[in-house]
């Protein structure tokens, strides 16, 4: 956003073209998902018409997410990382190792959330529970809604179910079996995880002073409330048909639908969007690997290595694209980006200190507008 504003101000914004690309990408993605629904449900034969609201919400979310993702990818720093991330990942000599590393990092960073646990155990637990709850629930819900998965009685009897994916039978299990119990109550287990995670997150948001001063309703509370509402209304549905003979089932299913649809519609806008941005972390890790193996940039002032040369060159290009003019013509180096952070800190203070030690008559460099 900031970059876009800056570009606007400097009058060279290529924004309209990006927007068109993003709209087209969004439409394409939506069409693909719609097509998959038709195909996966065997021309809608397995599609449950009652779930049409969910479907349209999903299609809207798909458009929104892809639109925003495309816009995001066009920002110069993101584009640079996107491009470089793939380049360094796909380098032939590094590819086998990268694939192995990719799986390792997928597990440690994404499946285990190792970096969040390091911030604090409770934070780690909260995030991990919410994430796994949502993953499980999505893994069940979307394929079911789209008709990508459906269950049929197997062997012409009523004792076994066969699960079909995209219309292809995959495996069978006994209705009363433990596996069956687990599968049919998958959403219940997911709800439990989400509710526990939301509770932990809420606790932190309500007592921790850092959260108290920084949090905002839309950014921080609304996602938790939505997840909580989805989980609780879902559980109430289960309670209704398992123990209350479907008491208020209609009302509850509409309420549940409203919460789910609301959440889906919110996906592209708020905090949930980090789901789609976050994988860039993997690209960063490979970028850092490649940088560490490559040539190191030495600070033009202290001559100590401080980053990879690739990173510095890329930043110079990104800054140029963003409209910054950190070029240092006629100086001891061509670009301010070649100065390490410590020397930047020190140089400012030296510059200020020199103003104080210089005799008043000499405090008079070229640029004089003070008055």
């Amino acid at each position: 956003m900031a970059a876009e504003r800056l570009l606007d101000q400097r009058g060279n914004s290529p924004r309209p073209r990006y927007t068109l690309v993003a709209i087209l990408s969004g439409c394409a993605a939506t069409a693909i998902v719609a097509g998959l629904i038709v195909v996966g449900s065997r021309r809608l034969s397995h599609f449950d018409a009652a779930l049409v609201g969910y479907t349209f919400a999903t299609l809207f979310a798909t458009f929104g997410i892809v639109y925003r993702y495309t816009m995001w990818l066009h920002r110069p720093p993101t584009a640079m990382y996107w491009k470089r991330g793939w380049q360094v990942f796909l380098r032939p000599q590094a590819l086998p190792r990268n694939v192995v590393l990719w799986f390792k990092r997928l597990v440690s960073v994404f499946l285990a959330n190792s970096f969040i646990w390091k911030r604090s155990v409770l934070r780690g637990a909260a995030h991990w529970l919410i994430m796994w709850g949502c993953l499980i629930a999505s893994g069940i819900t979307f394929p079911l809604v789209f008709g990508w998965i459906h269950f049929e009685f197997a062997n012409d009897g009523f004792d076994d179910y066969t699960a079909s994916v995209f219309g292809f039978p995959l495996f069978s299990f006994g209705i009363d079996s433990f596996l069956g119990y687990l599968i049919f109550h998958g959403l219940v287990w997911a709800s439990f995880l989400v509710i526990a995670g939301v509770m932990l997150a809420m606790r932190r948001r309500m007592r921790s002073r850092d959260a108290l001063v920084l949090q905002r309703f839309g950014e921080d509370f609304l996602p938790l409330i939505l997840l909580f509402a989805v989980s609780v209304t879902g559980l109430m549905l289960v309670v209704s048909y398992e123990w209350l003979n479907g008491y208020a089932y209609e009302f509850l299913s509409i309420t549940h639908a409203v919460t789910v649809i609301g959440t889906l519609l919110w996906l592209p806008f708020g905090k949930f969007f980090h789901l789609f941005q976050r994988p860039a972390q993997l690209g960063v890790l490979f970028y850092k690997d490649a940088g560490a193996r490559g040539e190191q940039a030495r600070c033009a002032r202290c001559e100590e290595p401080f980053a990879s040369s690739m990173h510095i060159e890329d930043l110079i290009e990104v800054e140029r694209q963003l409209g910054y003019r950190y070029e240092m013509n006629g100086s001891f180096t061509d670009h301010y980006q070649r100065i390490c952070p410590r020397c930047r800190r020190v140089s400012l203070a030296i510059a200020q200190g020199r103003l104080w030690t210089a005799p008043a008559a000499h405090r008079n460099p070229t640029d004089v507008t003070h008055g």
């Binding site: 932190r204 007592r207 921790s208 002073r209 850092d210 959260a211 104080w356 030690t357």
Partner: protein, 747 residues
């Protein structure tokens, strides 16, 4: 016979120093403090106001106290992290008894048994060898109430003349010179008088590191146009941007002051009417500085002549000024002479006793001021009264309910007490708030003396390095576990408030002293119920004295954010600035502003003598010692606070590149410094900010890292302050890192 445990690593593992960091409840952002207690920092003499955040009897953090006028929220890093000394793993929560079989060399014992044991040992020594065979060492970081009680305890309960305190290492040169010149020992001005000074002269004071808050006062003066003159052998952070830096050779300050006075006389930069009306003794002084020509001054001080002339001109022609000094000119075998020299140029300028015209010594310890006024100094009684003066004895004896004849005569200074141990005249010792094994010069000697004692009982909250040699250790109280008053750098009496209760068997120090008095069978006069009761008796004991606290109440302190003594009655507001016309002065009684019967200040001839130990072929380099910003004194507290240790983990030898080149030492090299008394091996820090003929080592560390293994036990003949600031050493590159280098600080 007390013997230190042989396994010093063992004792360190048991009793520290371990490093405390913020963790648990102190790091939990969800914890709200139950309350915030307005109190003061436990470290230096500035006594910055601070609010401690308390939860469940634990100090969990701090909040600046912006309303307190001295520091208005400002704090140095020690103040910021001081809260980590509470709930510390090294905290003593039981009494300890030496037991070589126990891990760490001590075993816990019940508090009452420890008191009984100590009282029996004291009784035995005193009945076998006389009252005078037992000595007391106290400290100036205690509240005034406690220091008062310590003096009373030694003289009334133990009936020994041998009590002295660690202000002997700190304030005594300034105190003695101030009494000789002004008749009173207190900073003459509040710090607000710095702000309007045209010239601020700072001699021998690393303000930025040892009194950091004062920096803002100096910078504010500069913003208003003041010229800052700094005299120091090192370019301290404050010196870096001062207007005139005089890189004095250590131990030559009096020569500089005499040379300045010489120039003031030569150019007639004198306040003749002030000298005539308010002083005596100028003529002999003028005569004595006649020989201190700029050339001779330059030669003696090692300062270029033109700078001396410049300083004299600025000082001489100013219309307002503030002169400050600290241990840099006081820690000398002629420390009193140095201070007299400083006071002479103040008096000759006539710039004292008025707004923006000031003079002060920068107190080192928390209660450096209050701690030297109420009777724990070997020659002093409460109210800055004189133990040798019959009238003073009679007044205090009456308040104490004893006969004046029963009060012992003046005793001896803290170092002399160790010499008496050497001679077998003192056989038992009680210490509180004093860590002589780190803080006294030539501390190899001190260690031997501690082992020579028949019995040594120490009171402390951590097992300090000296207490390693104790037979019994009684668990005392941290600053935040008790209440009372303290008198800070400006002579302002302020109130320390209790934030938490002492843990386990630990007791407030005044209770421990009273328990000992009771166990000794002499409880009379030691049955106070609380510090306020002690303070009320102190007010009576100080009434009519120079340090008159009789009009100070805790309520008034709170209302006024402190009360400056003298304060002779409850409706008296206190005396922030001394020597003003009409201000309270019980000695002059209206005849003049100074504290002599004629109301006139005294010029004293300040005699120059070189340091006791001059450099020579064998020991060619001057060693000077001092402090760093993140540590305090012997480090008992700050070496246990993780973030402060991280900031300055180990002592280093500051050495100029020219000198380093001569002995082929590079930055970071292990370097052995040897004096006639001992040696230490530390890493070198090669810097251009020190005179090339001088090296510097900070003194906060114990054992193999202790600068005071090297320093000389030469003392000022008047104040008895040791000469920490100059001795002769030689340096050599160490062939290897010292043994246990990697375990220097046990974690």
């Amino acid at each position: 016979m007390a013997k230190p445990p042989t396994r010093s690593l063992d004792i360190n593992q048991q009793f520290g120093p371990h490093l405390a960091y913020a963790e648990g409840i102190r790091l939990d952002r969800g914890v709200e403090a139950d309350r915030q207690v307005k109190t003061h920092c436990c470290f230096c003499g500035q006594q910055c106001g601070i609010q401690l955040r308390v939860k469940d009897n634990e100090v969990i953090g701090f909040e600046p106290w912006e309303e307190f006028p001295f520091n208005r929220g400002m704090l140095c890093p020690k103040g910021v992290k001081r809260y980590l000394q509470g709930a510390h793993p090294d905290r003593l929560t039981t009494a300890l008894q030496r037991d070589s079989t126990a891990s760490g060399g001590f075993r816990s014992m019940p508090y009452d048994a420890a008191i009984r044991h100590a009282a029996e040992a004291i009784g035995r020594i005193q009945s076998d060898h006389g009252h005078e065979a037992f000595a007391v060492l106290s400290g100036a970081s205690l509240t005034t109430e406690k220091t008062y009680l310590m003096g009373k305890f030694a003289r009334v309960c133990l009936r020994t003349p041998f009590i002295d305190y660690n202000g002997r290492l700190c304030m005594v040169s300034a105190g003695a010179a101030n009494k000789k010149s002004f008749g009173i020992d207190r900073a003459a001005n509040p710090w607000s008088d710095i702000l309007g000074a045209e010239v601020v002269w700072i001699s021998g004071a690393n303000v930025a590191e040892c009194a950091p808050i004062t920096t803002n006062y100096v910078w504010q003066a500069r913003e208003q146009g003041a010229k800052i003159i700094v005299v120091d052998p090192r370019i301290t952070p404050l010196a870096r941007t001062c207007d005139l830096f005089l890189p004095v050779k250590p131990g030559r300050d009096v020569a500089l002051f005499n040379g300045i006075l010489h120039l003031m006389i030569e150019h007639d930069w004198l306040d003749h009417s002030f000298i005539e009306q308010h002083t005596v003794g100028f003529e002999p002084l003028a005569e004595s500085v006649q020989s201190w020509t700029p050339a001779r001054t330059a030669e003696a001080t090692g300062i270029a002549e033109r700078l001396i002339r410049q300083a004299a001109e600025w000082w001489g022609t100013a219309s307002t000024s503030f002169l400050m000094h600290a241990r840099g000119i006081e820690h000398h075998s002629h420390g009193v002479q140095n201070v007299l020299g400083a006071i002479n140029i103040v008096l000759a300028s006539g710039r004292i006793g008025r707004e923006s015209c000031g003079y002060a010594t920068i107190t080192g310890q928390a209660n450096g001021q209050g701690g030297r006024e109420h009777g724990q100094k070997c020659d002093q009684l409460p109210g800055a009264r004189d133990l040798a003066n019959p009238e003073h004895r009679a007044h205090v004896a009456k308040v104490w309910g004893v006969s004046p004849e029963d009060l012992p005569q003046p005793g001896i200074d803290a170092y002399e007490i160790f010499r008496k141990i050497d001679r077998g005249e003192i056989r038992g010792l009680l210490s509180i708030c004093f860590n002589p094994l780190v803080s006294l010069p030539d501390n190899n000697f001190v260690a031997r003396m501690l082992d020579k004692l028949d019995f040594y009982v120490a009171i402390d909250f951590f097992l300090n390095d000296t207490a390693h040699h104790a037979d019994i250790v009684l668990p005392g109280s941290l600053h935040e576990e008790d209440e009372g008053t303290v008198t800070q750098i400006e002579g302002r009496v302020i109130k320390i408030n209790q934030a938490v209760d002492p843990p386990g068997d630990a007791r407030q120090d005044w209770r421990i002293i009273q328990d000992l008095a009771a166990a000794l069978g002499r409880p009379h006069g030691f049955t106070f119920q609380n510090p306020r009761a002690i303070f009320d008796e102190l007010r009576q004991a100080s009434k009519g004295g120079i340090a008159d606290y009789s009009g100070i109440t805790w309520e008034k302190i709170e209302k006024q954010h402190g009360v400056c003594w003298p304060c002779p009655s409850e409706n008296h507001p206190g005396t922030p600035r001394l020597f003003e016309p009409g201000s309270h002065n019980p000695i002059a009684n209206g005849s003049g502003p100074f504290y002599f019967p004629d109301g006139k200040a005294r010029f004293n001839v300040a005699e120059y003598t070189p340091p006791t130990e001059e450099v020579d072929g064998d020991y060619p380099v001057i060693l000077t010692t001092g402090r760093v910003v993140s540590h305090f004194l012997s480090g008992t507290q700050t070496r246990r606070i993780g973030p402060l240790v991280d900031q300055y983990p180990e002592p280093r030898i500051e050495i100029h590149p020219q000198l380093a080149a001569r002995i082929s030492i590079a930055d970071g090299d292990w370097t052995t410094v040897t004096s006639r008394r001992g040696e230490v091996t530390l890493r070198a820090q090669v810097v251009k900010t020190i005179r090339p003929d001088t090296v510097f080592i900070p003194y906060h560390w114990a054992g193999a890292k202790s600068a005071n293994r090297l320093t000389i036990a030469a003392q000022d003949p008047i104040s008895k302050i040791p000469e920490y600031k100059v001795c002769a050493v030689r340096l050599s590159k160490a062939s290897a890192a010292p043994q246990d280098a990697e375990r220097f600080e046990i974690e």
